[in-house]
Each structure stands twice: as structure tokens, then as C-alpha cells.
């Protein structure tokens, strides 16, 4: 299963719930405002670093660029929309609203 999170992890609890529920090795894709979470040194860095021990964590490039996110935690993988589609080919998607 592919877990898609679109809301900012600073103001919303969806990333936290996703990480709590997601099964080991399920990938997590950050889109829209959720990509703000990947900057190093933030209040959600440890949540994401822990998540990366059990999950591949992706961030959508169009959304990263739109928000000027110019640095990332080690281990975050960047995908474009074609990569997003590939993830959906490989896994059933679930969106955390």
C-alpha cells in the first residue's frame, strides 16, 4: 500500500497518523503542503527519520519547487508525477486527508 499525505505535518496530524498505521515497507509519498516537512532541523524531522527506518519516503518535486524547499533530510527520495504514477502502479494508494 502507498500512503499519500498532502497536509502540512506542522499544522495537521495526518502524517503522524499515517506513520502510526502504515505497515513496515509500505512507501509514503508527501505531496502538496506535506512536502514542507522534509527540511532538516524542523520539528517533524525526527518523525520522518523514524519513518524512514521502516518506509521509503518520497516527496513530489513540483510541490517541493513551488514551496522553495531547497534542502532535505537524508534519505528522502524525490519523484515527479511520472514517478507518482509508478508508485501507484506498484501499490494500491491510500490518501490521508
Amino acid at each position: 500500500m502507498l500512503h499519500i499525505v498532502s497536509r502540512s505535518p506542522f499544522s495537521d496530524d495526518s502524517l503522524k497518523s499515517c506513520v502510526r498505521i502504515a505497515k513496515k515497507d509500505d512507501p509514503i509519498l508527501l505531496t502538496e503542503d506535506a512536502v514542507t516537512g522534509v527540511m532538516p532541523g524542523s520539528a517533524v524531522a525526527s518523525l520522518l527519520q523514524d519513518a524512514m527506518k521502516s518506509h521509503a519516503v518520497y516527496a513530489l518535486s513540483a510541490d517541493l519547487k513551488a514551496r522553495g524547499v531547497d534542502r532535505m533530510l537524508d534519505g528522502i527520495k524525490v519523484v515527479d508525477y511520472a514517478g507518482f504514477v509508478e508508485l501507484v502502479e506498484q501499490h494500491k494508494p491510500m490518501t490521508w486527508l
Binding site: 502538496e32 511520472a82 501507484v88 494500491k92
Partner: protein
């Protein structure tokens, strides 16, 4: 693959509508079939035919309609639409109003069902 898409938010106010569109574009470019796009909740506003965005902005309803012209089934939830003042006279060409049964069918027939909301 056959991919169904559920859109739960309206245009301009939330990125969900843009994200759905970009995802569909990319999926079609990879040769996937879009089983349909179901507009639920505020999503029904996406194909409102009277939209007039600023000239330098994207025209979200037109963009959806063009996708419909390429054969993508654009389905507007009848109950959500009625409630919000969207009727058959006020939706774009190549979109149609129908019931939640269509979403159920999409869930059964598509290989993947992906939701965009907020």
C-alpha cells in the same frame, strides 16, 4: 492499468483539483486508462461552466472538459451537486451528473482508486 479518481475538493480553493489533474495527465502519458473521475462534495464545483478565472490563470473547468473530450468519463455526484446549485445546465461539456453508484462501480472495476481531497 485502469485507474479511477475521486476528487473531493473544489477548484482554486484547494490544490487537490490541480494534483488530480496532473496525476491523470501523467498516468495517461504512461498509457494507463482513466476509468473515470468522480467529483464528490465540493468537488462538484470543478466543472462549473460559468467559471471565468483571470486571463493569466489556469481555467480549471475547461481543462477538465478537454480531458472529457479525450474520452475520460467525468461524473458529478448528483446529491452533492444539487445541494450546491450545480445542475445539468451549469456543467461543462463532456461531464455528466450521476449517482454514487458510479463511484461504487469504479471501485469494483478499476485496478486502482486514488483520492484527492483535503
Amino acid at each position: 492499468m485502469k485507474i479511477g479518481v475521486l476528487v473531493q475538493e473544489g477548484p482554486y480553493n484547494h490544490e487537490a483539483s490541480d494534483s488530480a489533474y496532473k496525476f491523470i495527465e501523467a498516468a495517461m502519458a504512461k498509457g494507463h486508462t482513466i476509468q473515470g473521475v468522480f467529483f464528490y462534495d465540493d468537488g462538484v464545483y470543478n466543472v462549473a461552466s460559468k467559471m471565468e478565472p483571470p486571463q493569466d490563470d489556469r481555467h480549471i473547468a475547461k481543462r477538465w472538459s478537454e480531458l472529457g473530450a479525450k474520452g475520460v468519463d467525468l461524473i458529478v455526484c448528483v446529491a452533492a451537486a444539487k445541494r450546491r446549485g450545480i445542475n445539468p445546465d451549469l456543467i461543462m461539456p463532456n461531464s455528466r451528473i450521476s449517482g454514487l453508484g458510479q463511484l461504487s462501480e469504479m471501485c469494483t472495476e478499476a485496478d486502482r482508486l486514488i483520492t484527492f481531497g483535503d
